[in-house]
Structures are given as structure tokens and as C-alpha cells.
């Protein structure tokens, strides 16, 4: 096993865009290094340099002090460097076991894949995360039928299946629930002890401070700071990442007005039931910012999608005391609903089309026949600038934007319709801190304007800091409703795990 890997003065261009101009990273055995930076700062490129996915344009890699070059991901794998990719490298049609052992299948003497051995070894790996799966996960499960968090776990298991010494975790916790993150961190501690090194790429400050020993900060393609995590605090780290003032301060301590209590009820649901919802009822007042919390896959997505007419449901929904039953997103849109979906690349945007096309897609009807294109462009430009969209021009494809800016386009396209009810499915996932702060003030402003907002987030801190009330979903039901003084992170996590109701349960 190797002892150290060092990346020095790394340069990488993509065409005319400089992704890294002076990237540095030192990793040693028995260490967890947090690689942090805002979106577009070069974190992903840095991990792709280390694992051989991209070829460098300058600088050098040293393995145990000796220069080394990787021509492909396989070359990096050979020296024990493994990556947990953010965009999953799993083949959906194949089974869990087939995916984990692809290209390294144990063979029997006839050259056939030894199924027994494959399954036995897969069971061993699955045992590492035992008890955190919601489905009946076994080696023969098809990957396509798994929820996102379990896919992510399979991806992690695949990366560690050949016993690497350096593991790069690229946003690996983004789709995991708190129990799974906890288990992952226990494993990381174990690997560290065994002499492995871990590069941890994450946007979540709290996680970084929980497991990292060292940090390395990238800003605009340059390493601007590195050192021991115990010598730095959250605010200092964030300051390194962004030149602007710290944004996390915005969260806590925002005075929540109780004027809202007097406002009329805007959205009401009674006994909402779908495949994964088991009778959800609530009343929301105009201008309330409601959070939806809980572990992943407890029905949060279904709740938002059924309100948007996307998923068939039974039960009643009332909008301003009038019963509605949307059978198609079109019905919901006509009644002032907007949905920011969880997968912006697939559901939220036409990726290769221009920013302009994306912003205008839900609104074309308003511009008459023949289309008043100039008016439409003017409106889109206004929305773009009000959201502080960083782009080369409205005609550029959405694929040229960073994650945070792409998400702004998704929100922007709905804001152009001036929605009354805004449904958001984990909108800050994979978004950098600077943009997150902009989202927070946007959401606060919208709720002050009297919009009704339903906001699912996998980030507990966000829910606690931002929302008036939080519905905690557990197995398709609202288990707990937190507000005011009860709305704390501890209560939220406890409710998410179903702790209060489940004491004495042997699970």
C-alpha cells in the first residue's frame, strides 16, 4: 500500500475554460482530507485528476514522492485509487452483485462467472451497511429498482470492493439519510485505522467538521488554503471559499413573524393517499414557508408530485377553501402551482437548450399568436437579472451553467408565471454556499409576498433555519409537526428516525 499522494500545481483547461490553474492536494495514509470549494471552484476536476479520468495540462502527481501519470481510470485503480462518483457509474439494468464486480468477476474453471462466490462476497459488502436499507436489498436486486440512497451505497461498495488505499468520496453523502451517513462515517474511521486515505468532497460543513482531519480549499481553480481542521472554524472555512461575507449566519436567528397565523388558509389536504403516502392531512396559511423533513424516501417526493397533479392520489385537496383535484400538471399550473423537481438535469431543464428557451417554456401561452418574442425576451432577461444569474448570455445552453445557476433557471422559469403555491423538492442539493444564501433570501422574500411554499430538503439545518413549520414524514405519514420552540435540529432528527414513537421497538 502506498503512503501518500501529492498533486502539485495542477493545471487543467477544458477548451478555453480554465478549471484548475494552481491546484494542490496532499493526502497521506491514516488521514481524511476535506476538499472544499464553491460550485465551479474545481473540486470535481481535482478529483478527476487524481483518479485518472482527465489528463492534466500542467503540474505533477507524486505517489510516495515518485512522479506518476495516469492515462485512464484503470491506471489509477491499479495503484489503489478508487472513486465514488457523484454521477453514478452503475448500470441500471444489471443486478447489485453484477455491478459491484463488473470486470472483476470471480471465474470458475470453465471460465464461467462463479455466482456463488459473487453473491457471497456481495453479501459481505452489503453487511457493512446492514440495517440502513429500506428495501429488501440482496445481491440479485436490479439496481434500477433501488431508491437513490441505496444506489449511492452500492456505488460506495463498488468503489471499496477492490480494497483501494485511497478513496475519493465525491459528494457521496448528498443522497444519503442521516443514519446512512453515520454508518459511512463509522466505516471511514475504520478505513483510516487500516491505513487508507480518504478525500472527502462535500458541501456540508457539519459533515466536514465531523470526519475530516485536514482541509484543502479551492477557489476559482486555485488552492487558497490548507491545514488541520482543528485549527479552523466554520466561518473561517466559508470565508476562504467565498470572497463575500459569510452566509451561514443568515440562517439562524431570523425572526419569524407570527403575523402569518392570522392569515387565511391557502392550501389544505385531507387524507392524501398514494402508493407511498398513507393519509397525509395539513392546513397551510397564505405566506407560510413549510418545510418537509424526514429520512429520504418517506413519501416527500410523492407529496409534492401529487399536489402538482403528477401522481394520482385519493383524498381531498382544497385551494382557498375550494376543492381541486389536479389530474395533470397543466391543471396545477393554471391554478398557480409551480414545482421545482428534485432532479434538475432530468426533470427541471432541457439541458441542451438555451437559458432563454428554458425560462420561457412554461410561459409561452401568454405571448399570444404570433408569439411576441421581443416581449418574452425582455421578461426573461429581467427574471435572469433579478435572480443574479451568472451566464455568458441568454442564448447559451443551460448545460454551460454551474449547478447553482442551473437551479436558478428552474426557479426562474416558474417565477415568470408568478406562482401562488411553490413546491420545492430539495432545491439546494449540490448547490454552492453562495447560491444557497441567495435561495434562502429569495424564499423568505416570496413568503413575505404571500406565496405559499412547501419545501422539502435533505439538509436539516436548512429546514430548522428557514421554515415556519416543518412536517416530518415517516413511512408515508406526517409523524410530527415542529414549529416555534420545538423546531430544533435535535427534535427534527429524532422525529425523522421515528424515535419518539418507536421506543422499545427492537429494530
Amino acid at each position: 500500500m502506498a503512503e501518500s499522494l501529492s498533486a502539485q500545481k495542477i493545471v487543467k483547461h477544458y477548451g478555453g475554460v480554465v478549471a484548475l490553474s494552481d491546484g494542490n492536494l496532499d493526502v497521506h495514509a491514516h488521514e481524511v482530507v476535506a476538499l472544499v470549494g464553491a460550485n465551479g471552484s474545481g473540486k470535481s476536476t481535482m478529483s478527476k485528476v487524481i483518479n485518472g479520468v482527465v489528463v492534466l495540462d500542467g503540474g505533477q502527481l507524486l505517489l510516495d514522492g515518485n512522479p506518476i501519470q495516469f492515462s485512464s481510470p484503470q491506471a489509477a485503480k491499479k495503484v489503489g485509487i478508487s472513486t465514488v462518483f457523484q454521477e453514478l457509474s452503475l448500470i441500471p439494468q444489471m443486478t447489485v452483485a453484477e455491478n459491484i464486480w463488473l470486470t472483476r468477476e470471480p471465474l470458475n474453471q470453465f471460465g464461467l462467472v462463479d455466482r456463488k462466490a459473487v453473491n457471497a462476497r456481495t453479501e459481505e459488502l452489503l453487511a457493512l451497511f446492514e440495517g440502513t436499507f429500506k428495501t429488501d436489498l440482496h445481491p440479485d436486486s436490479a439496481v434500477t429498482s433501488l431508491p437513490p440512497d441505496e444506489k449511492q451505497i452500492i456505488e460506495i461498495l463498488k468503489a471499496i470492493s477492490f480494497d483501494p488505499w485511497l478513496i475519493i468520496l465525491d459528494e457521496a453523502t448528498a443522497s444519503l439519510d442521516s443514519r446512512q451517513v453515520l454508518r459511512l462515517f463509522e466505516l471511514v474511521a475504520k478505513w483510516k485505522q487500516q491505513g487508507k486515505a480518504i478525500v472527502f468532497v462535500s458541501h456540508r460543513m457539519e459533515e466536514i467538521f465531523r470526519i475530516a482531519d485536514k482541509y484543502s480549499v479551492l477557489r476559482n481553480g486555485r488552492t487558497v488554503g490548507a491545514g488541520n481542521i482543528k485549527d479552523i472554524n466554520e466561518n473561517q472555512l466559508v470565508k476562504l471559499m467565498i470572497e463575500k461575507e459569510s452566509v451561514l449566519g443568515f440562517l439562524r436567528g431570523e425572526a419569524k413573524s407570527d403575523q402569518k397565523v392570522k392569515k387565511e388558509i391557502s392550501l389544505e389536504a385531507e387524507n392524501l393517499t398514494t402508493e407511498s403516502l398513507r393519509g397525509v392531512s395539513f392546513k397551510i396559511r397564505k405566506g407560510e414557508l413549510i418545510g418537509i423533513g424526514g429520512l429520504r424516501g418517506q413519501g416527500q417526493r410523492h407529496l409534492l408530485h401529487s399536489l402538482f397533479g403528477d401522481v394520482p392520489y385519493s383524498g381531498t385537496v382544497k385551494l382557498f377553501n375550494k376543492e381541486v383535484h389536479f389530474k395533470h400538471p397543466r391543471d396545477a399550473m393554471r391554478n398557480g402551482f409551480a414545482l421545482v423537481p428534485g432532479d434538475r438535469a432530468k426533470e427541471g431543464l432541457l439541458y441542451i437548450r438555451s437559458i432563454l428557451d428554458n425560462l420561457l417554456l412554461p410561459s409561452w401561452r401568454r405571448y399570444g399568436l404570433p408569439l411576441k418574442v421581443d416581449q418574452a425576451k425582455k421578461d426573461a432577461t429581467q427574471t435572469g437579472s433579478s435572480l443574479n444569474l451568472k451566464m455568458a448570455g441568454l442564448e447559451e445552453p443551460v448545460s454551460s451553467l454551474s449547478g447553482g445557476n442551473a437551479q436558478k433557471v428552474v426557479i426562474g422559469k416558474w417565477l415568470m408565471r408568478d406562482p401562488q403555491v411553490l413546491l420545492l423538492d430539495d432545491p439546494t442539493k449540490g448547490v454552492d454556499v453562495g447560491t444557497k444564501a441567495e435561495f434562502y433570501s429569495l424564499l423568505t422574500r416570496l413568503s413575505e409576498e404571500g406565496k405559499t411554499i412547501l419545501f422539502y430538503s435533505s439538509d436539516d439545518e436548512e429546514l430548522v433555519g428557514l421554515c415556519d413549520r416543518v412536517f416530518v414524514l415517516y413511512e408515508g405519514k406526517i409523524r410530527t409537526e415542529l414549529s416555534g420552540k420545538t423546531l430544533t435540529k435535535e427534535n427534527l432528527i429524532a422525529a425523522s428516525l421515528g424515535v419518539a414513537e418507536r421506543e422499545g421497538d427492537t429494530q
Binding site: 485512464s72 462518483f85 453514478l88 448500470i91 468477476e105 471460465g111 436490479a142
Partner: protein, 322 residues
């Protein structure tokens, strides 16, 4: 996360639908033709089905790997015209076997040309093989502009009338092909094939030799097309440069009926074989039902479209229910 039983079943057994359709068509055929399983009838049916079965297996492998091969009919035509003109109606048996060997090489070469363009030059499979289908069909016309020539009747009889142990020759060939597939699908190559068809980028990141695998599927398809060409020449005994053209769509239809996803990575070979037999039986049913030849194409196409639409229709009906 409740999935219906049909979903779960078809996910595990993609060929189930093909099996149901096959049994259904056999039953209808039996009603119209009670002695369908008599040795002679069975053999005369199976020898007609075998060329499409060969093509469907090749097509199934290409589609499993995420591609499609529209040029198979053209390859069949080339093999047919080469055999018919170079062996001749009074050629010797040795001459025939020599040319069978040449035919197999020609099929592999034609497949390799497709594979080179698609795997190495990264051209669209559907466009590439559409273009080469004209190349191959044109070449066949160049070899034999007007139908004619052929192979000696005694050699054709080998294919037409062999029934070892009272079973049609085709049964043995199908059994061998399925055994080979069974072996291949449990080797590393088999896993790679599914991986490449399922998500090529992910397969590449996992060190699967994506390009070699893609190239290989077209070579296999070319080889199967050559076997189909040899079989159909021995069946008809004569040459016709346009014999392969209509077979392409049938091979694709057989694969789809067989439960393989057109997007790749799902399915197998047994399903498409059943699909090919089903298609042949449907043809039989049409002729036994005394349907006017004018209507034959329309009826056949309607049955195929309905068979293709059935799984989607089932889904649609289910989605409607909350």
C-alpha cells in the same frame, strides 16, 4: 415502492410475453391445421423459420449491446447470390462447402465493416447500417441482377429433408445456438455485453472494453446473417438478390416480441428465438385462414403492431388507476 406482479415478473423474465404469444399462436395454428406436429409438416415449417431465427439471434445480440443492425437483409442477399452464382445448379458438394466457408468469412467481414464505423468511428448505428444495407443489397444485385442460378437439388435436400431421430434439423441447430448463448451469457463477455448496452459511459468508467464489445456484436450479427443466407439458399435452392430485404424488419420485430428492450441491456436470446417462431406461425395462420394475399401484409403488420403495443397498453391502463 409497490410494483405490480406483472412488472416484477416481466422484469425477471423478459421473454414471458414472447412465450405467451408463442403458445397462443400455436393453439390457433393447431385449430386451423390439426396435423401441425406431424413430422413432415413440422419440418417444412421449421426449415422456413430457421433463417429468421438466425437473423434474430444476431440482431438480439446487437440490440443487447445498445445498437441495431439494419444491414442484415443485405448480407443475406449477398450470401444467397454468391452461393447461387458460384456453386451453380450442377456444382459439386466440395465446391458448396468451400463457398459456405467463404460465405461465413464474407458475413464476418460485412459485420466488421459495420462494427468499425459504429464502434471505432462512433457513428450512429441506425444511420450506418441503413447506409451499408444499400451497399450490401447493391452488391448482391451486382452479383446477380436477375433471379436465377442456384445450388444442386441434392445439397438443398440435405437442409430441407434431414430429420435425425424424427426431429427437424432446425431443432438441433436451435438447441446448439441456445446452449452456446447459455454459456456466453454466464461468462465475463456476457456481463460486459449487458453493461455496454445498459450504460456505456458507466461501463467505460468501470474498465469494460466498450469499443471491442460493440464491434464484436456487429461481427456476430454478420456471422448470423451469413448462416441465415446459407440456410435460405439451401431452402429455396435458387438465387435472388432481393431475398434478404424483407427479412431485416422481421428480425427486429422478433427481438422486440422476444422482450428485449430496444434501448439495450435487457433481455436475452431465447425470447427472440420464440419471437421469430411466432412470426413464422402468424404467417402460417394467415395463409390457412384463406386471407386474400392482398390483405396479407396488412393483417400481418396489424398483428405485429398489436403485439408490440400490448405491454405499453397494459401499463397505460394501470397508470390510469390511482
Amino acid at each position: 415502492m409497490k410494483r405490480s406482479r406483472w412488472d416484477a415478473l416481466t422484469a425477471r423474465q423478459p421473454a414471458l410475453f414472447a412465450l405467451i404469444l408463442l403458445v397462443l399462436s400455436i393453439v390457433i395454428n393447431l385449430i386451423l391445421q390439426p396435423h401441425m406436429f406431424a413430422r413432415e409438416t413440422l419440418n417444412s415449417n421449421m426449415r422456413v423459420f430457421l433463417p429468421i431465427i438466425f437473423l434474430s439471434i444476431g440482431q438480439a445480440i446487437v440490440i443487447l449491446g445498445g445498437g441495431i443492425d439494419i444491414s442484415v437483409g443485405g448480407i443475406v442477399s449477398i450470401i444467397n447470390t454468391v452461393l447461387a452464382t458460384r456453386v451453380g445448379l450442377d456444382g459439386s458438394t466440395e465446391r458448396m462447402w468451400q463457398l459456405v466457408f467463404v460465405s461465413l468469412l464474407a458475413g464476418i467481414l460485412a459485420g466488421a465493416i459495420n462494427g468499425f464505423f459504429i464502434a471505432y468511428l462512433r457513428l450512429q448505428p441506425i444511420i450506418t447500417t441503413y447506409a451499408t444495407s444499400f451497399l450490401y443489397a447493391g452488391f448482391a444485385l451486382f452479383i446477380l441482377p436477375n433471379p436465377g442460378d442456384g445450388i444442386p437439388a441434392n445439397i438443398a435436400a440435405l437442409y430441407r429433408d434431414s430429420t435425425p431421430l424424427n426431429l427437424p434439423l432446425a431443432f438441433y441447430i436451435i438447441a446448439i445456438l441456445l446452449l452456446i448463448w447459455l454459456y456466453i451469457s454466464s461468462t465475463r463477455y456476457g456481463k460486459f455485453l449487458y453493461a455496454v448496452g445498459g450504460k456505456p459511459d458507466a461501463a467505460y468508467e468501470t474498465a469494460v472494453p466498450v469499443i471491442t464489445i460493440q464491434f464484436g456484436t456487429y461481427v456476430i450479427s454478420g456471422l448470423m446473417a451469413a448462416l441465415a443466407g446459407i440456410a435460405i439458399t439451401m431452402l429455396s435452392g435458387s438465387g435472388n438478390a432481393e431475398i434478404g430485404g424483407p427479412m431485416t424488419l422481421n428480425s427486429i420485430t422478433a427481438v422486440v416480441i422476444g422482450g428485449n428492450a430496444m434501448s439495450g441491456g435487457v433481455g436475452g436470446v431465447a425470447g427472440p428465438v420464440m419471437g421469430a417462431i411466432t412470426l413464422g406461425i402468424i404467417q402460417n395462420i394467415i395463409s390457412f385462414a384463406n386471407i386474400n394475399t392482398w390483405w396479407e401484409t396488412l393483417v400481418k403488420a396489424t398483428i405485429i403492431v398489436m403485439a408490440l403495443a400490448a405491454p405499453g397498453a397494459i401499463n397505460l391502463i394501470r397508470r390510469r388507476q390511482p
